[in-house]
């Protein structure tokens, strides 16, 4: 209680009055044995954390941000070697401590919150038991007082009906509730410092806003937070000081507003520029792009056909699934949309809103219970299989994780030539050359033909997936969360690539994403889905600037944005 009262006196914007809680000088972490296999993943990191402050480590995957944070609780990982000139927490060194000492500190003085509580809490146990464990491990109270305490903490992080929720497992709770339960387990003993490693990643935007609210309350109660995130917009909501990491080193550090508005390092600038939003519409997000050879595609594509008929026309689609317990759930409830040639239609909605099912119906992979899909005016749903196949050739799909849609035993060359010859058997002779040209078109090189997908980075794999998608010279590409798993700078490159391909080839995109910024950046028109219904449809600017439906408004209100004015408001609100 003492620490609480003390922290509450201090303000967390100024540093002068606050107490230095954590000091890190020249932190280095290596993994693996000595020799060639040894990797230097954190290189000379300096950090300072003052009481009641939130510092953020921002960086892309592999930047060493998580390892840095985990070495602060002595859990850098198996086979790691941690060295530092100075690693001091509340006046005591963290170096060379015994396991017993660490166990005492973890959970009681420093807490850790991870991504996705579905797997970060033991899925076999009720969440109450997980929180109880945190108390029990530190010999806090007896059974009855712990039970009382569990309910109190759950209430504190905004879990309604804590007595009921405590008995449920993480899989039984909604995304927002289980993330709160995870936070409750980490802060049960009110640690002074909480490390939050991507605490809102993979959450729907409204849930994300709620979790950010909980973290903000923790800050207000005087807890210091080390926030680790790849998402600058999330960071801008919470952090006082931002450390930008790349390749294991800190490239830039400073107060939030300064770093976001006047970045000094080129990489920081790149990161900020790469975030797609309403402001980036029509601009490039990255520096590079692919080269499309003239004449790569045959010109005999169906361009000449009637332009007044929409390319894809879905009318009143209804799709119902029967779940294993025999209950019918209507996933898509009467959605209509059209997609014109060369246009991008963005479909946005939270998980479970029916966007992917709608896309599968559009692809005729699912037969709708009612409604129809027309391709160039021809009814496609329920057409004879031969005709369906003809049309399906003209539509490609790119999924979030291309690895699962590639045969792992095929090299890139086979993945591409397979698609090429399937679409156009006459290309069998020069399929490999054509595949090489496709790779160049998506910003890869012919040498990648002989790679295995497993050997490639996420961005490269997604490029291969796009190359495969355009190999059939499609008129429509359905992009189902195609950039959602990528780092922001890679995402920027892929989005630019898609924009270029559309400009050059006149392909239409059905762009499905939960990310409002990406949708606004890419889409001409937007369809907002909620619980299987299209609640709003219109041009991107209409929907984003003048949302009519309450749900769209709440979505946009919960979206963390990177804007100066907003930062100002947030700062003064605190």
């Amino acid at each position: 209680m003492n620490a609480f009262a003390q922290a509450q006196v201090m303000s967390h914007d100024g540093m002068g009055a606050s107490r230095l809680i954590l000091e890190v000088r020249d932190l280095n972490v290596w993994f693996g044995q000595d020799g060639d296999s040894r990797r230097h993943v954190v290189k000379g990191v300096d950090l300072e954390l003052y009481a009641g402050q939130c510092i953020a480590l921002v960086g892309e995957s592999g930047s060493g941000k998580s390892v840095t944070a985990r070495s602060l609780i002595g859990l850098a990982g198996a086979g790691s070697r941690v060295e530092a000139a100075n690693l001091t927490f509340e006046g005591e060194t963290l170096l060379g401590r015994s396991d017993r000492w660490w166990r005492h500190v973890r959970g009681s003085k420093i807490g850790l919150i991870l991504q996705d509580a579905l797997v970060s809490l033991d899925p076999l146990r009720p969440v109450g038991k997980e929180i109880d464990e945190a108390l029990w491990l530190h010999r806090w109270g007896d059974r009855a007082s712990r039970r009382e305490k569990i309910l109190k903490i759950l209430g504190q992080v905004g879990v309604p009906e804590p007595a009921l929720r405590a008995k449920q497992r993480s899989g039984e709770l909604s995304g927002g509730l289980r993330q709160r339960a995870l936070i409750a387990a980490a802060i049960a003993l009110h640690p002074n410092v909480v490390i939050a490693d991507e605490p809102t990643t993979a959450l729907d935007v409204t849930v994300q806003a709620q979790v950010l609210g909980v973290l903000k309350q923790m800050l207000a109660r005087g807890t210091s937070i080390i926030l680790i995130s790849h998402d600058l917009a999330v960071v801008s909501k919470l952090a006082d000081i931002i450390y930008v990491m790349r390749g294991g080193s800190i490239v830039e550090a400073g107060p939030r507003d300064r770093v976001l508005n006047r970045p000094r390092h080129r990489y920081t600038q790149q990161l900020i520029d790469a975030v797609p939003s309403e402001h980036t519409k029509g601009t490039r997000l990255s520096a590079d792009g692919g080269v499309l050879r003239p004449g790569l595609f045959s010109q005999s594509r169906g361009r000449s056909s009637n332009n007044r008929v929409p390319l894809l026309d879905a009318r009143n689609i209804v799709k119902t699934f029967r779940s294993p317990d025999g209950i019918r759930r209507t996933v898509v409830k009467g959605v209509s949309f059209t997609l014109a040639r060369g246009e991008t239609l963005g479909i946005v909605g939270e998980s479970g809103s029916g966007k992917s099912t709608l896309a599968r119906v559009a692809l005729s992979l699912e037969t709708p219970d009612s409604g129809e899909v027309r391709f160039e005016g021809r009814i496609w749903t329920g057409a004879v299989p031969a005709e369906q196949r003809q049309i399906r050739k003209r539509i490609s799909v790119v999924y979030q994780d291309p690895l699962s849609s590639f045969d792992p035993r095929w090299r890139v060359s086979r993945i591409l030539t397979d698609a090429i010859t399937l679409a156009n058997p006459s290309r069998a002779q020069d399929a490999r050359q054509y595949a090489a040209a496709l790779l160049e078109a998506v910003g890869l090189e012919p040498v990648h033909l002989d790679r295995w997908p497993l050997q490639m980075s996420g961005g490269q794999r997604q490029r291969v997936a796009i190359a495969r998608a355009i190999a059939t010279e499609p008129e429509i590409i359905i992009l189902d969360e195609a950039v959602s798993a990528l780092d922001v700078s890679v995402q920027a490159q892929i989005l630019d690539l898609l924009t270029d391909l559309q400009a050059q080839l006149g392909i239409s995109y059905l762009f499905i994403s939960h990310d409002l910024g990406v949708i606004h950046h890419m889409s001409d028109r937007v369809l907002v889905m909620k619980d299987g219904k299209a609640v709003e449809q219109g041009t991107a600017d209409q929907v984003f600037y003048h949302p009519k439906h309450a749900y769209t408004q709440s979505l946009l209100a919960s979206l963390p944005r990177l804007e100066y004015a907003q930062l100002r408001m947030a700062a003064s609100a605190r």
């Binding site: 985990r70 609780i73 859990l75 198996a78 396991d99 166990r103 005492h104 500190v105 973890r106 959970g107 420093i110 807490g111 850790l112 991870l114 991504q115 996705d116 797997v119 970060s120 809490l121 033991d122 899925p123 076999l124 146990r125 997980e130 464990e133 945190a134 491990l137 530190h138 879990v159 309604p160 009921l164 449920q168 497992r169 899989g171 039984e172 709770l173 909604s174 995304g175 927002g176 509730l177 995870l182 387990a185 980490a186 729907d204 935007v205 409204t206 849930v207 709620q210 779940s323 294993p324 317990d325 025999g326 939270e350 998980s351 479970g352 909620k530 619980d531 749900y551 709440s554 979505l555």
Partner: protein, 335 residues
């Protein structure tokens, strides 16, 4: 169940408590239905095999009793056919057979002229005790071994895994003879000649448990390693739990599931597979009875043992299924 996130803190309808428990009841009932179906199938198949088997049953009966192997005249066969009902239509025989079973009547042994149920009940106890004891002992070996060697680095894991592979490959008769030589003959700790007392049960139990522990260990090790990489392990460590605590309190439970599956299978295997061990240790049990009954073509006794074994097997798998629900409560949500 896919979670339908409405953005608000709504819990999917399927997760409300009463639904969950009615799911559970339904699941148990369904499982019970399946169990009864399997039993019915076993009984029917056993009956059909018996009645359409080559060789006249009455002839076999007479020959077993007299210890001869000769053709019998219709005059000799008629009283037997009448006594056993072999002259009735097959449907009538079937109904009589099933209703007998329902009343606990497994028929009479051809050779011993005694009710099959009596013969089995005299011999089942040592066999059943041995099978259950072996399974329990196998788990007692496996759990500490897994906790000691799994998920603690590649080298230790490879060592643990290699040891399990070797154990799993050991032939039971060889283990049995080795144990007899070492512990009964050299060290004189246990009697050489079998019986059904506690001291007599130790070596046969170990003999059966050792290879089984290897199998179970192999099956839970990979699951253990996988669970060690789950983020909840890091969460628990960050709460202040020791590495050993996380392994024992969180990870082990995840790893048990494939081992439990294997145990259901192993019980069936043990019940009918104790023959060798019973022979090596000169121990009474169902195994010897079964071998003898097969040799003498005592079909009534063979089928009685068969039906009993499948009954136990199905019953134990039903229990295993309930254990699943305790170990992995997520399964309760699935209908």
């Amino acid at each position: 169940m896919p979670v339908i996130s409405s953005g608000l803190d709504m819990v999917p309808a399927d997760d409300v408590q009463p639904r969950s428990s009615s799911n559970l009841t339904r699941r148990i009932l369904r499982r019970l239905g399946a169990t009864l179906f399997v039993l019915w199938g076993t009984v029917t198949i056993t009956f059909l095999v018996l009645s359409i088997l080559p060789g006249d049953r009455a002839t076999i009966l007479l020959n077993i009793r007299s210890g001869q192997a000769i053709e019998r005249t219709p005059e000799e066969l008629a009283p037997i056919n009448a006594a056993y009902g072999f002259d009735q239509p097959i449907a009538v025989q079937y109904i009589r057979y099933v209703s007998g079973l329902l009343h606990g009547d497994l028929g009479a042994s051809y050779e011993l002229q005694r009710p099959v149920l009596n013969i089995i009940s005299e011999q089942i106890a040592p066999t059943f005790t041995l099978a259950i004891a072996a399974l329990v002992l196998a788990w007692i070996f496996t759990i500490p071994w897994t906790l000691l060697t799994a998920g603690r680095g590649a080298r230790l894991g490879a060592f643990g895994s290699a040891a399990e592979t070797i154990l799993a490959g050991l032939p039971q008769y060889w283990v049995g003879i080795l144990l007899l030589i070492v512990f009964a003959i050299w060290l004189n700790w246990f009697p050489v000649i079998g019986g059904t007392g506690l001291v007599n049960t130790v070596l046969p139990t170990v003999t059966l448990a050792v290879p089984l522990a290897g199998f179970i260990g192999q099956s839970i090790r990979s699951e253990f390693d996988r669970a060690m990489r789950e983020p909840f392990v890091l969460s628990a460590r960050a709460r202040g739990m020791s590495a050993a605590g996380v392994r024992a309190r969180h990870v082990l439970r995840h790893a048990l599931i494939p081992g439990i599956t294997l145990s259901g299978w192993a019980i069936g295997h043990l019940l009918s597979g104790t023959v060798l061990v019973e022979a090596v240790f000169a121990r009474p049990g169902l195994g010897a009875v079964l071998v003898n009954a097969v040799n003498t073509k005592d079909f009534a006794l063979v089928s009685g043992i068969l039906i009993l074994n499948s009954f136990l097997y199905v019953l134990i798998n039903f229990i295993v299924d309930l254990i699943y629900l305790v170990v992995d409560p997520r399964l309760r949500d699935k209908a």
